[in-house]
């Protein structure tokens, strides 16, 4: 990595700052609540997919069980708020820390597994957690938790009159996720991850502490995902096990990165900006009949994009960048 790399990183940072400012100005012109809702979801998925990308994209440990961390974040926040009156801010942080610890505890046995065995283990662990919480009466069992409204304030992180505060928080979260990725990309860990992804055996022999670097990736990834989960709980003010911890959600989280470009800085952002509005619009315009047309359209797109551009859509923008990243 030479001056080209440093130059690219500077440019990425400037572009990101500009985009963030533009995004922050958008709600001044777009007053439609429905559109604002889609924008919040887009930013949230961008942040989630970016977090997933750290473990699965950069480090190459494909996890299809990230709904576990999302659900943990959502449930920690919701339970602390409804049962103990703890402010969601602490709930999100607490959920993040719990998730990071659990990710490391699970990583201890799981990171010995390779390929499909690892992927299936991540799915299975998330599924066990889902079944347990569905049967846990104190946590609302299968019915979930209703988060009561206790007034509009940043302190309590509840806003009933406007979606804007949610929008700015989601924007902030997406920026943090992006910045963490940007920062890690050039750190010792970033280089280790790419080495581990390409060839774990060679990396090991060159002195990369493979196991520790996987643990680091898992912890960062789980923390950010759980904060996203806590945010989601406050945003929709109702959570149930299937919707925050189901297998579908793990896939939904991974999809933007896959569509945009796995293991790239901009892939998850691009994927979310394309995919989430598309999902929401197809759902509301042609899915209303309940007859699955939206599923057909959505599924076909996933098949087509993944077959036509295996490296993700990001490659369309600048072929040279792809080389630089890989």
């Amino acid at each position: 990595m030479d001056s080209d790399f440093a130059q690219r990183r500077r440019r990425d940072l400037i572009v990101a700052a500009c985009l963030a400012v533009i995004a922050a100005l958008v709600p001044l012109f777009v007053k439609d609540v429905y559109v604002q809702n889609i924008m919040v979801l887009t930013l949230m998925y961008a942040a989630l997919s970016q977090s997933w990308n750290i473990l699965s994209g950069y480090c190459g440990q494909i996890s299809l069980g990230h709904a576990l961390y999302f659900g943990l974040g959502a449930y920690t926040t919701a339970i602390l708020f409804t049962k103990f009156g703890v402010l969601p801010w602490f709930g999100m942080l607490g959920g993040g820390l719990i998730s990071a610890l659990i990710a490391m505890a699970l990583g201890y046995p799981c990171f010995r597994l390779r390929g499909h065995y690892f992927v299936i283990a991540t799915i299975v662990i998330a599924e066990i957690a889902l079944l347990l919480i569905q049967n846990w009466d104190w946590a609302g069992a299968a019915l979930g938790i209703d988060i009561p409204v206790r007034g509009d304030s940043w302190l309590k992180f509840q806003f009933t009159r406007s979606k804007l505060p949610y929008f700015y928080f989601a924007l902030g979260l997406a920026c943090v996720a992006w910045f963490v990725t940007w920062w890690l990309e050039d750190s010792k860990w970033g280089f280790w991850w790419r080495a581990v992804k390409d060839n774990p055996d060679a990396a090991e022999s060159l002195g990369v502490v493979v196991f520790n670097s996987k643990m680091g990736a898992a912890a960062v990834s789980a923390f950010l995902t759980a904060v996203g989960g806590g945010f989601y709980a406050q945003f929709v003010s109702y959570i149930d096990p299937e919707s925050v911890m189901g297998f579908q959600f793990s896939l939904l989280m991974a999809l933007p990165a896959v569509v945009g470009g796995i293991g790239t800085l901009w892939g998850p952002m691009l994927g979310a900006v394309i995919l989430i509005p598309l999902t929401e619009l197809t759902r509301s315009f042609i899915g209303g009949s309940g007859r699955g047309v939206d599923l057909i359209v959505y599924g076909s797109l996933i098949v087509l994009i993944s077959l036509a551009r295996p490296q993700g859509l990001i490659g369309l923008f600048s072929p040279k960048r792809k080389e630089a990243v890989r």
Partner: protein, 277 residues
């Protein structure tokens, strides 16, 4: 039940062993097979047992077509091959579920009045439901047939050879794509067989596949990827574990036992019980 899990899983294992691809639409293959059996029964009054070979044949064609239209391109991907396979077959699964909802509506359907439905047989005081018994018998027969097929026929040998070295078989005039397409067809046919039998004692609805797909992946991985015998053994283990868990824990938690056993096995033996890779 365990033997049926094995039968569902063996198709997945065959496809995986052949070309390292996990078919994430496997559950939806099962769903299609169950619907096919249902409609053969509803419109032509063909009993699921008679329909099974027809459904298997139809699924064979379907599997081969899926390979030629989608999977063939997915395995060719140079970047992120693993993710492309996962998401192209997963996308297919979403489409199939959507199509099922569109054409068949999300209603629950069931095959009523089959020859075996609801009948039980008494074996020394233990009452066994006949559909399950026949299911087990068909599964064993299918395993035997598959074993014979892979080890004793020319096509089976071609399948093995292609798996070993796809480049070399091209030199002796075997078309890799044809062999893989046939392999996919065969895998799908086995699921078709399983689906036809299962339609006797399960409700049929667009998402039915999802509930069996994860168990099928676990079954295959438990036995070890690339081992057809492993899928068979995995199926039996999964069936036994499920029955045992159902006795100890509430029914809604019965899958937890299966998942826990999978984790235990792979933590001790990261290649599954009989896996070679």
């Amino acid at each position: 039940m365990g033997l049926l899990y094995g039968l569902i899983a063996v198709g997945l294992a065959l496809i995986f062993g052949l070309m390292d691809v996990v078919n994430f639409a496997h559950g939806e293959f099962l769903m299609i097979a169950m619907y096919a059996t249902f409609f053969l029964f509803a419109f032509f009054a063909i009993d699921p047992l008679l329909a099974a070979p027809l459904v298997a044949a139809a699924l064979f064609v379907f599997g081969a077509v899926v390979y030629l239209l989608i999977v063939r391109f997915a395995v060719r991907a140079k970047a992120n091959a693993g993710m492309v396979q996962i998401f192209s077959t997963f996308g297919l699964a979403i489409v199939m579920r959507g199509l099922a909802q569109f054409f068949f509506t999300p209603d629950y359907r069931s095959v009523t009045h089959s020859w075996l439905g609801g009948k039980t047989i008494s074996l020394g005081g233990i009452f066994l439901p006949e559909p399950q018994l026949v299911g087990a018998a068909v599964s064993i027969a299918a395993f035997g047939g598959l074993y014979f097929f892979i080890n004793r026929t020319d096509f089976g040998r071609a399948l093995e050879a292609t798996r070993e070295d796809a480049g070399a078989v091209a030199l002796v005039g075997i078309d890799k794509n044809r062999v893989f397409a046939l392999g996919w067809g065969l895998g799908a046919a086995l699921v078709g067989l399983a689906g036809a039998i299962m339609s006797i004692f399960f409700y049929i609805y667009p998402d039915v596949g999802a509930s069996f797909a994860l168990i099928a992946y676990v079954t295959v991985a438990l036995g070890g990827f690339g081992s057809v015998f492993g899928a068979f053994a995995g199926g039996i283990i999964v069936g036994l574990v499920e029955a045992t868990t159902a006795m100890i824990l509430p029914p809604s938690l019965k899958s937890v036992g299966i998942y826990a056993v999978y984790l235990l096995v792979v933590f001790v033996r990261p290649r599954g019980l009989f896996g070679s890779i």
